[in-house]
Point group: C2
């Protein structure tokens, strides 16, 4: 009836007192009930008799029970206004909409024995720089200086290190508790209801719902194998007068593609011409598989048009919740003020850890080991796609990052495929999670950072079987590949 | 001219390439400029010649420079649209209001040698359980399982531990990245523009600006030495139909007072009668100086009227950014959905750390050591106030927590005192930071968790001198204590 938790920091007598009180107030132990004798209850719960004595004594002090010699401890009648009948539960409204079932569906697939998940957005645990972090944690915790709040803009030496990497001043850098917080604050500080923004389509940003809540209009911009399509942007900017453009130019999520250097330069020129801010999200930039990665938009931006966001979540670990904005000092100033009543600070302990990780060259070591491993997984995935996928399925080759984007031939859709794939115990992220339109609906994202290397080939093989099944159903239903054959899911 | 950072993870040749490019694009190195010869620049920067060779080669590939035999490497004329003249800096608006200078003023005081700060909201570093956290970090990082994203509602065993402490189910518990995020999400999910909330006055919540931005009306409720004043709440509730009441009942910030058990019961009854939710913020609850602390509102709340917030920031460390909401499952569900595009997750590494800290009894050890130390600092502060403060200054005695609240006699104000105290090298938080009204304006908060024990007496002595100076000025200006003598700051 009572459950005491010996591992809890709350003393046992207090736990018992609270649980008895709860039952008295809720009416489960009505007035006149005789509580178990102290010794009996002590034996039953396996505690000292003093524990029970103290619990009963406090309840008596609260006027809830009374110890009567020869009668034991009895529950008293409560003052009328505290009578259990008056304490009905609060009626809290639950969520108004059913939750998007996608994540639950994917979780259900992935939970089964033998399942292969291409749906993750993180690395498999053995790829984290665990040993280095353990060693540095020991050093950072040699004294208590890493355990206070820290400065509001972030730990100074970490800001300096990030500033040096990007060739800017520390006043350009603000450390935040994650990229989502960064996007949210940028939106809150720089946008107002009625403003327009340009957003890549597809893009993970579309799944966030940041702009709906803010009353901001989203105009989609297409993305192809060379990244954001810059042709036509001039007209879009003239027509819609957007305030900001959101792009993830390096190993795009979900398409994996890279914005070419030429398009990057043109984009910066357009921004200058239209006085448009560009938000460059760069979570995967360090995870390049080529010797000469394309420079960030930020490094091509002497005019500070770009608000650059990055984090350690994809290159080191998402368990740290550390991201940074790099932007013109007036922007940093405004966002720093707004964060004071939101995330307040990024965890100082984690900032100290990562500053040491950078300073001691552990990042370079970690990346030198990680890049070839991720590249090998990408290659395994591409080889398996080549070997097993039926004609008509296409994919982009990413030069880094975590994901490969595949496209099904009409009229197949990724949602239908997910149902079939689920039967094969394979999961992935369907493209319409990232936006609207044909490309998104027929597309799906395959992650290669999470599955073990030996799972990739078999996983793709099973996925290919699911595609083939879907194609046969389609043909049987009378459709030709490329012909419309009914409502697309 | 070029500064290369050898400790940066970015290869040196990339750093050089980026810096040269920046200067070309900004016009600092105009077309026709001859770059330093490779060997010369290598010697000047103290790098391998290959570093310079590779940097120049990449710039040539980008079309920015050209290597001419016998002439060296020359900056090319850029395509017209990339000409430096077209790249003017983006005009970003800075903050529209001057920043509240209070924090800067306090920082200025505290920076001086010999300054004593009673203005902090954290502990001095030696009070953190550094050794225990170091040891547990080593164990939690024995493998990479603490380095992924973790579940959206928080690490399961940590939710269970917190649920057990409070006698609720894990479905009642959500782990968030800080108390401010918790307050923000509660406001966003449960309140709409035009709603009314009841908020203690003074209260740190008033300094957050959460409700202004949300279009929510704030009705203040007074607090006295026994906490929130419950008399009159019934009428307030009938008149304003508030949705929520915000209270910090245990070692109130900034007043330090404790809501009595009797008032707690009455408050829960009122909530039930009016179907009003109560937000109970409890950051200091573990830091009690008495053997029998008052039970939380949540533990007296079988009807789930209370949304309980707590964190480890004040009892263990603010560097972890870990807080939790304990509320009826429908409320938890709604807040869990909203957090997905805000803080997204609380740091899994830190959650694992604290779950181990609780499970292994380190919390109980830490608190057993910490409470007497904080109590001794409180006692030193109270003794010094008694010994040095002039007649007319009063204070509350807190039964736990971090702070003592003092009140100046009319017509003195805490803001005027801060100026005088600054001359003595003593800082504190003036009451009007926490809200409007006489009590706030004449009051100030003295923190005892941060100053070293040996600083407390001398700090109060100097503060008392500042009070005396202020009183003499007041008397010299012709005022009698208690008489109005001009505008109150």
């Amino acid at each position: 009836m009572f459950e005491l938790d010996r591992s809890s920091p709350t003393p046992l007598y207090q736990q018992l007192r609270d649980q008895v009180r709860q039952r008295i107030l809720s009416g489960a132990l009505p007035p006149g009930t005789k509580l178990p004798p102290e010794r009996t209850l002590a034996v039953r719960l396996g505690v000292n008799r003093t524990t029970v004595v103290n619990a009963y004594r406090e309840l008596a002090a609260e006027g809830l029970v009374e110890g009567r010699v020869g009668h034991g401890t009895v529950v008293l009648r409560l003052p009328e206004e505290a009578a259990p009948g008056a304490v009905r539960p609060m009626r809290w409204a639950g969520p108004t909409e059913a939750e998007e079932p996608l994540m639950a569906d994917i979780s259900a697939i992935v939970r089964r024995p033998g399942a292969v998940s291409f749906a993750h957005g993180e690395m498999s645990p053995e790829l984290y720089p665990t040993g280095a972090l353990r060693e540095l944690a020991g050093r950072v915790l040699e004294d208590g200086t890493a355990l206070g709040y820290g400065p509001i803009a972030g730990y100074g030496p970490l800001r300096e290190a990030i500033a040096a990497e990007l060739g800017v001043t520390p006043e350009h850098v603000l450390i935040l508790a994650g990229s989502q917080i960064a996007l949210y604050l940028i939106s809150r500080v720089l946008l107002q209801p009625g403003d327009t923004v340009l957003v890549e389509m597809p893009s993970y940003v579309n799944s966030l719902g940041i702009f709906d809540a803010a009353g901001v209009r989203v105009v989609p911009v297409p993305v192809d194998r060379d990244g954001l399509v810059v042709d036509g942007l001039d007209e879009l900017m003239l027509r819609y007068q957007p305030k900001l453009l959101f792009t993830l130019p390096t190993y795009h999520n979900p398409l994996g593609v890279t914005l070419t250097l030429e398009r990057r330069r043109r984009l910066i020129q357009l921004a200058a011409r239209h006085q448009l801010g560009i938000v460059e999200d760069d979570p995967y930039g360090r995870l390049h598989f080529t010797a000469h990665p394309v420079p960030t938009l930020k490094s091509l931006d002497p005019g500070d048009y770009v608000i650059y966001i990055s984090s350690f979540s994809k290159s080191v670990s998402p368990a740290l919740r550390l991201a940074w904005i790099v932007a013109a000092p007036p922007v940093v100033e405004r966002i720093a003020r707004a964060r004071g009543n939101l995330d307040f600070r990024a965890a100082l302990l984690n900032q100290r850890l990562m500053e040491a990780f950078l300073r001691e060259g552990r990042m370079a070591e970690h990346l030198a080991a990680l890049r070839p491993v991720l590249k090998a997984r990408r290659d395994a995935l591409l080889e398996a796609l080549q070997a097993h996928m039926p004609e008509g399925v296409t994919w982009y080759v990413p030069e880094g990052g975590y994901h490969v984007w595949c496209t099904l031939p009409r009229p197949l859709t990724a949602r239908r495929l997910l149902v079939e794939a689920g039967r094969e115990g394979v999961a992935f992220m369907p493209g319409d999670y990232y936006g609207a339109g044909q490309l998104a609906r027929r597309g799906f994202r395959l992650n290669f950072s999470y599955p073990r290397p030996e799972q990739i080939g078999p996983g793709v093989q099973r996925l290919a079987r699911a595609v083939e099944r879907l194609m046969r159903e389609e043909a049987a239903a009378g459709g030709e590949p490329g012909a419309f054959s009914g409502p697309v899911v």
